[in-house]
Symmetry: C2
């Protein structure tokens, strides 16, 4: 079993790096599947924007910015772009005339469904390599750690896709 020279010696403290590499490999896999399907890949922040709006329809730009951990200006720009591409709709907010109510369009929801499916495929390949039981254990371990670190507080959802 030939392990890459850079990772040959096992040192304490290497697990964070292994996590990064693994995540990077999965992300690359995801994007190449997207490309195979001829779908535009959108960009890093977009994935989390979709995911947030799918779960919180009617959110405002400021809500989104807080969730993504970026400024409202940056969030506004991203939303404008997604609106241009017909993934997101901005409507007048029912209660606050300053605000806009953001929702995914049908096209946006369709993209989220596809992304969900592709991520599931990626995870599936991981499961095939390490075994489904190990996947379940790993899922549980990561959740335990995340819960330990953040508890009920909002989890920063920034890096990637």
């Amino acid at each position: 079993m030939p392990t890459n020279p850079d990772l040959a010696e096992r040192r304490p403290g290497q697990v964070p790096l292994l996590l990064a590499i693994t995540h990077r490999a999965m992300t690359d896999h995801f994007h190449s599947r997207l490309a195979e399907l001829g779908r535009e890949p959108l960009r890093p922040a977009h994935g989390y924007t979709f995911r947030y709006l799918a779960g919180h329809p009617g959110a405002t730009t400021v809500d989104l910015a807080a969730h993504l951990g970026i400024t409202k200006q940056a969030a506004s720009k991203a939303v404008a772009e997604l609106q241009d591409w017909d993934y997101v709709q901005r409507q007048p907010h029912p209660l606050d005339k300053r605000a806009q109510s953001l929702t995914l369009t049908e096209r946006g929801r369709e993209y989220v469904r596809l992304a969900d499916q592709l991520w599931a495929e990626v995870e599936q390949r991981f499961a095939e390599v390490i075994g489904p039981d190990r996947l379940a254990a790993l899922d549980r371990d990561l959740r335990a750690y995340i819960d330990h670190v953040y508890g009920d507080q909002p989890v920063p959802l920034r890096p990637v896709w």
Copy 2:
């Protein structure tokens, strides 16, 4: 055991996200330890630059660029900066008058030792949460996947610290 609402329902395809969040949490932990010690945090690409030069003394800027997956111009700029801060030395290459031979200074090596130690601390806290046996299993699983994806080929070492 209160799990964050965004992660409450367990869906297939969520593991890549869990990996990202976990890595992000570990990175934040690393940086806050660095800040506690009053050390300048340097920046994303610097960590991998250090790591590479520590393992490949005498490498050239082009080598480094290839390793990091960035252009030689970008690598050159990063090296210049690290040299200004006395972490890296550029010397005439013994065999090629066009090239420069890059090595870490003692200050650079000291930083790498500190970083190694802090990452080990971070990993240790992870181990305390999930248990040392789980950590070992996770280490093994991630390596198996990375090996499956990249085999002997160079692993892209870009994202983070």
